[in-house]
Structure formats: C-alpha cells, structure tokens
C-alpha cells in the first residue's frame, strides 16, 4: 500500500514537463490532482520511474471564454468547473454533471483534464466531453495538436496520448443558445461512481429536433455516443412514440457488462429508462428558435 520508489520533478513550465517526460524515456507519469493516480501508485498498479508534477505550472488553472469555445486548462479542479459562472451559463448540462462527481474533498484536487487522461469508463468527465464534442489540446516535443475527444479516448483507461505528451487544455464549443439539455445518473450513493448515466442535448428548429446528441456511461468499455438513438430522433417532434423508438435503438446498440453492482440486462434497462427521462427533459428545455 505504498508507492514503489520514483524520482520526482516539479515542472515549472509545460516545456519543462515535456523535457522531463522525454528524459524518462517512456517511463514517466504526469501527476495532476492525483485522485486517480495516487491510488494506483499506492497499489503499485503503476510504477513509473519518474513522476512529473504539473501542479506548479502557472496559467493552467483557468477556464477561459475564447468566443465560440470555453477552454478548460489542465489544472482546473472539479471544484472550479462545478462552480464556474461561464460553465453554468453556457453549458448548464456540464454544470449539472459536475454535481455528481465524487465528494467535496476529492473535488478540491481532481482535474477535468486528469479525468480525461485517466479515461475511466465510469467517470462523468470523459462522457460529458464526448457529449459536447470537446477537443483535447495536446502538447509534446513536436508542438501542439488538437484531437477530438472521440479519437482521444481509445478504450478503458487508454487514450491516444504518447508517453512524452501532456494535455494542456480541453476546449468545449458552446452549445447554441436555447439548446435543451438533460442529465441523469443512478449511483448507490451520491458522489459514488454511477451504475449508469445518460446525458442529452437537442435543438428545436420549427418544432423539429436537430443536433441531437446523446452520451452514456456505465454501459460499456468506455463512455459512448449513442448514434443509433441520435439518428432515430433527428428531425422528429420528440413524441412519446418517437422517444420510445429511440430508447429501443439505444438498448440495441449498447453492450453492458454484468458485474457485482448489476447484471447486463439490468444496466440495459436502467440506461433506457434514464434516457427516456433525460430526452423528455432536454426537449422541454429546448426553446424554439426565435426568427431574426
């Protein structure tokens, strides 16, 4: 229950962190909030030779409005994401989701970008980033690249990040004004990892749904966008029958696993019922477009 020995570098800049990772020759690890990495170090599930601490790099702890986008820096803690007025105003669905992440003390340390990098299939942030078509800003020896989160998240606990790269920010395009949203999750205890979680966004154009986005987690190896259910609702009027059709499309397209907390059938059922509620909620919130 104690970490194996490692060397420690307190990086003072992004460049410094990249150099320290490069010097570690593939055996370095970034530590941000430490709320997922430290348990793994304590259990010796990971044994890096060098730990590169990014907590003292200035300028990474901000949420910025860049016009069309909100930019969440690598040291933005859950506490800030959950309380930030820009997020609450422009992306209320994310504001709501953050209330379900972990507990007060863990939120003081854990970071949004760290959660994306950890890529836990039961974590809210990767799922919300997928829902919002977020773009990950990655910096490495060759410079900075931008990758859609869909491509960044590869599998459970696996991302596209190279050993000498770090995530410096994630960018979220502000949903169009009037976008309806819904979010629901089921956990045994508030703040625990959820058994299943569904979130949705929808715009209404003359009463017809467009830009339907549905994401879920707890029902597969990674968080997922549910494209069959999205397609079933695109252009629809979100009637009860149309929602029911989308819910069965959703149940057909997921492959949940059985575990101690619930059988595959139970999770499939749960995800469908959460989706039914979330979709209804999102549609009620979708304001009809005001003609200019």
């Amino acid at each position: 229950m104690k970490p194996a020995p490692f060397a420690y570098v307190a990086a003072t800049s992004v460049q410094h962190a990249i150099e320290a990772l490069a010097a570690a020759g593939g055996d370095g690890k970034i530590i941000a909030g430490g709320q997922s990495l430290m348990p793994m170090l304590n259990f010796r599930l990971v044994r890096p030779s060098v730990l590169v601490d990014i907590n003292r790099i200035p300028g990474l702890d901000r949420i910025e409005d860049t016009g069309k986008m909100l930019r969440i820096g690598a040291l933005v803690r859950h506490r800030l994401t959950a309380s930030d007025p820009l997020i609450a105003h422009h992306v209320p669905v994310l504001h709501e989701a953050m209330n379900h992440v972990a507990h007060h003390t863990v939120r003081n340390r854990g970071t949004f970008c760290g959660s994306l990098c950890h890529a836990d299939p039961a974590a809210e942030m990767p799922m919300m980033a997928l829902l919002l078509d977020a773009v990950v800003e990655i910096t490495g020896p060759a410079g900075t690249r931008h990758l859609p989160v869909r491509e960044f998240l590869v599998a459970s606990l696996t991302t596209d990040l190279a050993p000498d790269e770090l995530v410096t920010a994630v960018e979220i395009a502000k949903p169009a004004p009037g976008t309806g949203w819904g979010f629901a999750e089921f956990a045994r205890r508030h703040g625990d990892y959820a058994l299943a979680c569904v979130a949705a966004l929808v715009e209404s154009r003359d009463g017809a749904a467009c830009n339907v986005r549905i994401a879920a987690m707890g029902i597969g190896d990674t968080a997922l966008r549910l494209s069959a259910a999205e397609a079933a609702l695109e252009g629809s009027g979100f009637s009860d029958e149309e929602i029911t059709r989308a819910v069965s499309a959703l149940r057909d397209e997921i492959e949940p696993m059985s575990d101690l907390s619930g059988s595959a059938d139970y999770r499939r059922h749960l995800a469908g019922e959460l989706a039914r509620n979330v979709l209804g909620e999102a549609w009620r919130r979708a304001a009809p477009e005001v003609p200019a």
Partner: protein, 162 residues
C-alpha cells in the same frame, strides 16, 4: 539515470515550519504521522475512499493519503491537532462531543478537518446538503445521524456564507 534519493522540503504544519529530508514516494499521511509524530491524522484505506486521513492543504480539505509530502513543499497544512487540545476543545470538536458524534473515534479526525473546510466554503443550508457534503467520509459506528446534528449546529452558529 533517475534519482530517487531524498528531497528537502519545508512545510508549515499547524503554524510551525518543519524542514525534513523525504523520499519522493512518502505519502503526506506518513510524513505527518511518522516524521512529525502527529498521529491525530488517521489512515484507513490509502486509496482516497474513507476520508480518515483528511487534512487542510492551503485551507482546503485534501486526502493526505493521495498527496505526496514532496508536493507540499512551501505549503500550509492543518491537521486535527490544530483544532484544540484535550483540555480546550475547539468548536468543531466540542460540537462532536456534545452531539455524541463519535464512538470509536477512528474516522473523527477526518470528519473534523472536512467540516473545518465545509464551514469555510460550503453553504450547508439543510440536512440534505450537509449529508452530501459529508458523503466522502465513512464512519462505521455512529450511523451518521449525530455527526449531521453536530454539523447542523455548527452551520447554524456560523450563519449563511458571506
């Protein structure tokens, strides 16, 4: 190539500056208990789940089992020992005693330090709010009822957050 040798750190703990040589892998919880002899901070799970090891790091609650001692070089730490003594209990400790909010006491230092943060930063408007705010700390004895009662009284005495 890599040097896993010790690093000198200086940390303010409960208002006293301490300088020590530490291995990078030393947990803050073990630093407090083994290097400084401050055994008030308890260790339950060492993976962030139980909350027994909670301390204040620059004024905000943090799991000391998920923090490395090297990371807090130059920082301010407060542990349960900052809250009062046996003869002169601090207000949070007194409220816990008055409400019988502890039995074996193993979880108590973590609850006390969590509550120290909550009283500074959390609205604690009603019992549901209080229960949610305490949901990261596990107690196997009390059934939580009396802990909630103690926090309710402390929140009332504090008044709304300004």
């Amino acid at each position: 190539m890599t040097d896993t040798g010790t690093v000198a750190i200086t940390v303010s703990v409960n208002g006293v500056a301490h300088t020590r040589e530490v291995e990078p892998r030393l947990l803050l919880s073990d630093f407090l208990r083994h290097k400084l002899g401050l055994t008030g901070t308890h260790v339950g799970c060492e993976h962030g789940v139980c909350g027994a090891c909670t301390v204040l790091l620059d004024g905000y609650s943090a799991r000391s089992c998920l923090t490395l001692a090297v990371q807090v070089d130059g920082c301010t730490i407060e542990t349960v020992e900052s809250q009062g003594t046996q003869d002169a209990l601090g207000p949070i400790q007194a409220a816990f005693r008055d409400h019988h909010a502890l039995q074996c006491g193993y979880c108590t230092p973590g609850f006390i330090m969590t509550v120290a943060d909550l009283l500074e930063h959390h609205p604690l408007e009603n019992d549901e709010d209080i229960r949610e705010a305490l949901s990261g700390n596990i107690c196997r004895c009390t059934g939580y009822q009396n802990i909630v009662a103690a926090v309710r009284e402390l929140a009332k005495a504090r008044g709304p957050l300004t």
